[in-house]
Symmetry: C2
Subunit: 118 residues, 2 copies
């Protein structure tokens, strides 16, 4: 039960698209990720997912439109909704999602990573 | 499913110690609160609670020590742990907690509020 400094934790992250766990609460993890470039289309069968942009500008493509999140903005992508995050420049992102959540949702491929604690 | 701008939402909050709901995910609410002064000692029987300081400096007294959270720092207070938040100057706080969470925990008194959406 110690304060977690987001900037310090972000400085420990080396790779894009590989979120790390920094805290847990109830059945969820708080994860931090650095993003740059385009991810893949995916959805989560049973988990809503919260995205909070800490730095940069993140576009989340949905099938019918795109959401643009600036620093200090958040959105919840409900379970079942297909989405594809894109970061033209580096983005620092805080994610909150159930512990069961896989980064690529129902897809298992070379972008799939098992999140570790930092 | 629209981006939520934290600064805009904070500007709608008039009263200290009365967090408002801005988003829901799974069984939890994201709440924003303005704090100033001292709250009361309380604990939550079944809910871990996440505090993320968006602005200012928040002290969370625990029975055996105090935690100081600066802007950009978070902490999870696990269920059952008695705590008392204190803000000597105005603090803007993001809270994440199960929907069942009452601000005063197991205590019901004149500081108890039912959170509403903004």
């Amino acid at each position: 039960m110690e304060p977690i400094n987001l900037a310090e934790k972000f400085s420990l992250i080396e790779h894009f698209w590989s979120p790390k766990i920094v805290a847990e609460m109830n059945d969820s993890y708080v994860k931090l990720g650095k993003l740059k470039g385009e991810f893949i289309w995916h959805h989560h069968e049973n988990e809503d997912e919260l995205f909070l942009v800490v730095k940069g500008e993140l576009t989340i493509h949905l099938r019918d439109r795109g959401l643009v999140l600036h620093e200090g903005e958040l959105v919840v992508i409900p379970k079942g909704v297909e989405h594809c995050p894109v970061a033209s420049e580096e983005v620092h992102l805080l994610l909150l999602e159930p512990k069961t959540t896989l980064n690529t949702g129902t897809e298992i491929n070379d972008r799939t990573v098992q999140a570790e604690w930092i």
